[in-house]
Amino acid sequence: MKNKDSWTHVTGKSIYIDDMITRSDTLHGIVFASSVAKGKIISIDYSKAEKAEGVVRIFTYKDISGENQIGKVVQDEELWAKDEVEFCGQPIALIVAESEFLGRQARNLIEINIEEEEAITTASEAYEKNMILGKPRHFCSGNTKEAFENCDFIFEGKTFSNGQEHLYLETQGCYVIPQENDGLKIFASTQAPTNIQVIVSRVLGIPMHKIEVDVQRLGGGFGGKEDQATAWSTMAAVAVQHLKIPVKIILNRHDDLYMTGKRHPYESTFKIGLTKDLKIKAFEAKYLQNSGAATDLSLAVAERTMFHATNSYFIENVKTSVYSCKTNLPPNTAFRGFGGPQGMFVIESAIAKAANEIGVSKEKIQYKNLIQENDSFYYGQKAKKVETKKCWDIATKTFDFDSLKKEVENFNQKEKYFKKGISIMPIAFGISFTVISMNQARALLHIYQDGSVGISTGAVEMGQGVNTKIVQIAAKEFGLNTSKIKIESTNTTRVANTSPSAASSTTDLNGKALLQACNLIKDRLKKIAANHLDEKEEDLFFESNEIKGKQKSIVWEDLIELALKERAQLSEKGHYITPEINFDREKEKGHPFSYHVYGTAISVVTVDCLRGIYEIDKVHIVHDFGKSMNEDVDLGQIEGGLVQGIGWMTSEEISYNGNGRLLSNSLSTYKIPDLFSIPKEIKVKALETENDSAAIYKSKAVGEPPLMYGIGIYFAIQNAIESFNNNYDLKFHSPFTPEKVLMSLYEPLKQKNPSK
């Protein structure tokens, strides 16, 4: 089944926040933010702005009836800065005006005096000054110290992976309408409607039941609208609480880039030890996460880095530490992969370094160390139903890795100024929220008296296709055509206390909740049908708009009419929690994931050694779909995730100056992949596995894992550079921009540095 919104999408009829019909007196909010990364606010003069044409009122922390606090996990983030600013782009006030244009004009008239202090922009600076958020985490298995003593090769190195801007095409936004009795209805572009409800309740000092949050769909999220979507709705809510007039906030692109957090940059060090037969005996890593100025989701992101520190490999002795370093950047946040990609980049770098120093190919070391059935991940979870080796073997066989490699070698011998590079990237990505309590979801199912079906869940549709899959579930269970099933908006009054749509698990959780609701109604309908048809309940099944028994059947609509007459309950809710997951944060051991998703990608690139630019020839993937319930949607996730990962590794370069001001602050300076920069060929082969019943219909989660295939591109480019420049000293500093490529291609022989 194709994306259920295809028709409205291609005709431009899909409604996003900025397209909603608004009340004619709707006002517009423009956020006034700090242009300084760290400092004390000495004075702010709003008087000229307040008098400006069209300005209704300017709101600041003084107008907050509840708490000036929007931190969800840790309460360390003000809605509007009071005395101090801690990042450039930190909101200070909201100008509410008759139009966006007038609001922007007024914003230019605000005079602010901030006593600027020295800003910290890198994780290592913050680490040295002991600016750490939360508790550092230390995971350990085996004994690395002893193990290193028995290694034949030991290598150390450092890596840097830069942040990444989400660049959802629809910027952050909300529309807040006053309701009776001081209630609020909030339409928001958010992955986390409940978060908004919780925070608005706290900031306005009103109970949650007065706040209704509704989400139709998002024009992209990628993690950037999980915690970071909350502030805007909260600001508008404060304004509405005072004015009793609807307020809309749509950030323009520049404000969005400048005010919101991104993927966390990481500075890491590693030590890897191998035996002669290329077994990785020991691995140590220390991750310095650049968390930005507030905690946001940083601690959970850091935790997932730890879980993916060894990627798809089994290593007996591992010791890792992660520090969430507080800097004066916007609070960095969730982004597809959620710390996993950053962890994987380090282990892949360590293996690349080892391979280069030992003089073997990287894939030899990778293959030798792939995790196998009943090995344990170093945080304690026993690897079950492991598909790493299978994915690798099928990928290298199906796509004939050996000939690809031979082709690359032949090409490189022949060509002087063009060099090809090749790499393999295996992935193993854990599915579940690592905060156990978040692994729950609910669904509400109505069957209307004409037989049509309406479904509400906690899932937010942001392009990932969750609503399409939800429709499929109901259609399959009731044997109905999908046109009879409607997915309602995600609304906190229909499904409450929802987890954000995140962690790749939205379909698993909400789909399974729906499945429960469907089964309850099916059982009820079966009773009625059995009675009516004189058939046994256990013989009945739902198919092609009918409930069929051995002999007789009844049409769906007739059955519903009958059920209604018998006063049967035709609405149900489902509630699902993921079983069998646990994690002990004292011991740092447990079983945090419901299951893992596996895969292997083979990448080939061509580097233009005169210009330092490159093209991606091919990416061939074997991916563990489980048993895909929607190949159209899942393939879209694989290709889209891959390309996003490639962007992170190649052209997407976040750049702040030393004062913490974002330089890559527009689409002309921040370059995500375009049509011409993607791989010329992407092949995806499905590894069908039937093992995981934890996934809905055994169709495994697919949102985040494919992003990490993109990491392979870094190493393919590096591989090409190695064959052009013998002097090149391997560096692990992503993204591999054309600048870094050219500088690497012409890097002179390294002077031996005695200190390292």
Binding site: N3, V10, E170, F222, R253, S668, P738, E739
Partner: protein
């Protein structure tokens, strides 16, 4: 008063001409299918089609409506996603996007569909015109969800299905585009042309592709002098071994000119690295010159062509070499009432021994880290004439005078080339910024110059 046709509706408005077409469409006309993505022409979510009457036919091209002043669409047909959707069905671009799952979150989708529909509408003409491909039509559209492969497949299917179409009538009868489009030529012909005005206003605006990125709010507030309405019939002319370009010539018009293609066999390669199709459809040469960006692609090309500007003011007309036009960073030898009207360059031979290079973080739809162009004329291996320009290495689009002076009238050998690079190295002064470090730009500049010589004078290597 400006008047134009929006989809199937005649619009006459006094709304201020400096407002963007995008805001007019969304706010004034409540057509919400055209999306706001970046307001700087870099994402394509706001793409619309502009149809212009030429020889009783309407020719369509796509533009980003965020960068177009409303006043510039006077007398034209503006097509949005709403106007491209047939009643109760889908046009071919829409159908193929659905068929190939080219849409996920859907926010960029209308922009892609509009661009692809524009390609379909131009298909009957394009079948005789090989340059523009279906993928070029969506070169200005960014998608963050799909990874583009599915969109590529949709585009290929559109190409295949429309390949034999020869007329608008055929496109309509096959249900590829809505039927009302056949009535547009007549409706457009009824709109009177705007009379030429001479009063000086806040700002002279050609297409606005750069001005609207930075100062859309100011342009909305103030009165503008729009100049692209007043077109000469032939913008690109050839006289006395010179090519003379109207300053209002767009990048697309340059790219599509057959005589220029003969002069520059790699014209297509050069221009497809310059911005994207919708921006090239708007951006003018004159605008690129006065914008004075140190990395202006077309300026770099024209510098190496030894171009000359014709500058007019109400009472005067003068000529100046382009290389002498830039006095400092964004400082021009141009008085307030002066306007560039023509740009001309000599045609030394056909084709011209010319080469252009551009490297940016992303190869397409990006601003150069460094760009460079060179023209060289040899006589018995002696350098008779050479022009070499480099962008991104100085406060202005840089004409490498010292290097040129060094090379002139010498015998070209590999060692001479190497010496020239050393002089070049001293002559350029790149700074570190978001487009690269100074060390990188320095190395890259030399690499690009090397490529010029490898391409134009391979015998020395």
């Amino acid at each position: 008063m400006i008047s134009f046709i929006l989809n199937n509706k005649k619009i006459e408005t006094d709304t201020f001409i400096g407002e963007t077409l995008l805001d007019f469409i969304r706010e004034n006309q409540n057509l919400k299918g055209t999306k706001i993505g970046c307001r700087e022409g870099d994402c394509g979510a706001c793409t619309v089609l502009i149809g212009e009457l030429k020889n009783d036919q309407v020719q369509y091209h796509n533009i980003t409506s965020c960068l177009s002043p409303l006043g510039n669409v006077h007398g034209k047909h503006v097509l949005t996603i709403e106007g491209l959707t047939p009643e109760n069905s889908l046009n071919i671009a829409q159908q193929e996007m659905v068929n190939h799952q080219g849409t996920q979150c859907g926010f960029c989708t209308p922009g892609f569909v509009v661009s692809l529909s524009g390609y379909v509408l131009q298909k009957p003409q394009h079948n005789s015109h090989k340059l523009s491909t279906v993928l070029d039509s969506i070169s200005g559209n960014i998608c963050r969800c799909t990874g583009y492969k599915s969109i590529e497949k949709a585009a290929d299917a559109i190409e295949e299905k429309t390949t034999s179409t020869t007329s608008l009538e055929e496109l309509i009868s096959k249900g590829f585009v809505p039927g009302y489009l056949k009535e547009i030529p007549e409706k457009l012909s009824e709109i009177p042309k705007i009379k030429k005005e001479s009063t000086h206003k806040y700002k002279i605006v050609a297409s606005g592709t750069d001005l609207y990125v930075q100062q859309a709010d100011n342009l909305k507030k103030n009165d503008l002098h729009l100049i692209t309405h007043f077109e000469n019939s032939e913008k690109i002319q050839f006289e006395n071994n010179h090519c003379i370009l109207d300053a209002k010539t767009t990048m697309s018009e340059l790219l599509e000119n057959e005589q220029l293609q003969e002069l520059f066999p790699s014209l297509e390669v050069y221009f497809k690295k310059i911005s994207s199709a919708p921006i090239r459809n708007m951006g003018t040469i004159g605008g690129n010159i006065v914008n004075a960006s140190p990395i202006a692609d077309v300026v770099i090309i024209l510098l190496a062509l030894h171009a000359k500007l014709t500058i007019k003011s109400p009472n005067n007309k003068r000529e100046i070499l382009l290389k002498d036009f830039y006095l400092g960073y964004k400082t021009l030898d141009l008085l307030p009432k002066e306007i560039i009207t023509f740009i001309s360059f000599p045609i030394s031979k056909k084709p011209i021994d010319f080469h252009f290079e551009k490297v940016s973080k992303r190869t397409h739809l990006d601003i150069a880290s460094v760009n460079s162009a060179m023209q060289i004329e040899l006589e018995n291996k002696f350098i008779k004439e050479i022009h070499l320009s480099i962008g991104g290495v100085a406060p202005v689009p840089f004409y490498t005078k010292k290097t040129i002076d060094f090379l002139l009238n010498k015998e070209l050998t590999f060692s001479l080339f190497e010496e020239a690079l050393e002089i070049l190295d001293q002559e350029i002064a790149p700074i570190s910024d978001v487009r690269g470090s100074s060390d990188y730009k320095r190395l890259l500049a030399k690499q690009l110059v090397k490529i010029h010589f490898m391409t134009l004078t391979p015998f020395i290597f």
